[in-house]
Amino acid sequence: MGVERLDNVAPVIYNVKPRDIDIQKSSAYDENIDDPIDAREVFDYIRDINDPEHPFYDTEDPWVDVSFTPTIPHCSLATLIGLAIKVKLSRSLPPNMKTVVHITPGTHNTEAAINKQLADKERVAAAIDNPSVMRTVNQCLKGRE
């Protein structure tokens, strides 16, 4: 393949800054609160602006990128927590919105292995399809009484 004489020969294709969701905010799910203009809305206005060096790349649909930090570096529940986040997002966001959930770099000893599992669509689907796994996940998602 030829080398192109561009400033940015191999751009990382992200069309929008990853949106961190603060999952502690219960107001995000409260329907009585007005929804002020948010990053997604702003993105929708500017998404068609092309990089002049790479005008033919199709606009990538925006996705949600969530990084989470386990409380201790060897936390054995990190995979389960990551899965719970993925499930919660899939229940809350529009159905075709893609999500990437990963461990904040440097905060867990087996983060590469956990990130790989969470990024594997088939593994996540099979886990969600497993009733005993989902019982535990739903416990995580129950929220405080």
Partner: protein, 326 residues
């Protein structure tokens, strides 16, 4: 002017909770398509000019998602692989496929099942990291012949060579592994650790069996040449070309090599159906055409006899028929 466009689609599943179509395959005549998915059903379709018509629905035999389905070369048998750890063999009797055998043994989700071209073997693979080779006897009964435990992770697919007795597998451990029959048992011919930098989701041979294409989660496509295929014990795959699809961040889930040409179809998480061209003389992989579909593509297959027809299985429950005009 070359073009690629959708010509029709059907709904494998209308279940709003479990729409995903995971796998599909044409039979050898190209007249029928089998689809399977998250809704735990298998559907058989007839191709009627450029539309699919459902002729049979199978459900209730497997208790979890059905990940893959494959016709035997003769078309009389169908194998379906499920996350419930079973593989079911159906036989075409009268006017429909009837359950004949339930193959048990894998410890957890079965990811793929493929009849060998001769019909003598069936290969299956699973998240339990093993590849099983089953032998079919004259009565049509299945016996486990070999259990191959070379993978260190979830095995995503198995693939038979079109002509030689060679079996391939690949998956979560980023490795491609090849096996041959030594007279008694299926054994390792080659282990390619780090064949890709991430999970290898799918691979396919060209019609001659000289070349293999493989795709992975890091959106890289590789072509391998099969050297010294006979005796099969000396068969080796050699990487001769690599192509990174740069305008995506999502995995490539499925690859299919056109039975009549050097066109390679790929589908993945970015919803793009891509057609690449492999140039044998220069060992170059070149982008050719691309079409964005409405949902992620889990499985893609060129029709066995119509070289411009493709079927794609999508997350939204649809099966798309696509025409590629050269």
């Amino acid at each position: 002017m070359s073009s690629v466009h959708s010509i029709s689609f059907v709904q494998h599943s209308t279940d709003p909770i479990s729409p995903r179509v995971w796998g599909l395959n044409w039979n050898s005549s190209g007249k029928n398509l089998v689809t399977c998915g998250e809704d735990k059903s298998v559907k058989i379709w007839k191709l009627n000019s450029d539309k699919l018509e459902m002729i049979q629905k199978i459900s209730g035999d497997q208790t979890r998602a059905i990940r893959y389905a494959h016709f035997s070369t003769c078309g009389r048998f169908l194998a379906t692989a499920s996350w419930d750890a079973t593989v079911i063999i159906y036989e075409y009797i009268g006017n429909e496929f009837e359950e004949k055998h339930k193959l048990e043994g894998h410890e957890n989700e079965v990811k793929c099942c493929k009849f060998s071209p001769s019909g003598e073997y069936l290969a299956t693979c699973s998240r339990d990291k093993t590849v099983w080779v089953w032998q079919v006897d004259e009565d049509g009964d299945y016996e486990v012949l070999s259990i191959l435990q070379r993978h260190s992770g979830d095995v995503k697919f198995v693939l038979w060579h079109p002509d030689h007795e060679l079996l391939l597998s690949g998956g979560y451990d980023n490795a491609l592994r090849m096996y041959y029959f030594d007279g008694d048992d299926w054994v390792s011919a080659q282990d390619i650790e780090g064949a890709h930098g991430s999970t290898i989701w799918s691979a396919d041979f060209d019609s001659t069996g000289k070349y293999l294409v493989s795709v992975c989660a890091e959106h890289v496509v590789k072509i391998w040449e099969l050297t010294s295929p006979l005796p099969t014990s000396s068969a080796k795959l050699l990487n001769i070309a690599t192509y990174q699809i740069k305008d995506t961040v999502w995995p490539l889930y499925s690859v299919s090599w056109n039975p009549f040409s050097n066109l390679i179809a790929i589908g993945g998480g970015d919803q793009h159906l891509r057609i690449l061209q492999f140039n044998q003389e220069s060992s170059a992989i070149l982008p050719f055409l691309s079409l964005k579909l409405d949902a992620e593509i889990n499985s893609i297959a060129w029709n066995s006899t119509n070289d411009s027809l493709l079927a794609a299985a999508l997350d939204d429950g649809t099966v798309q028929l696509v025409n590629v005009n050269i």
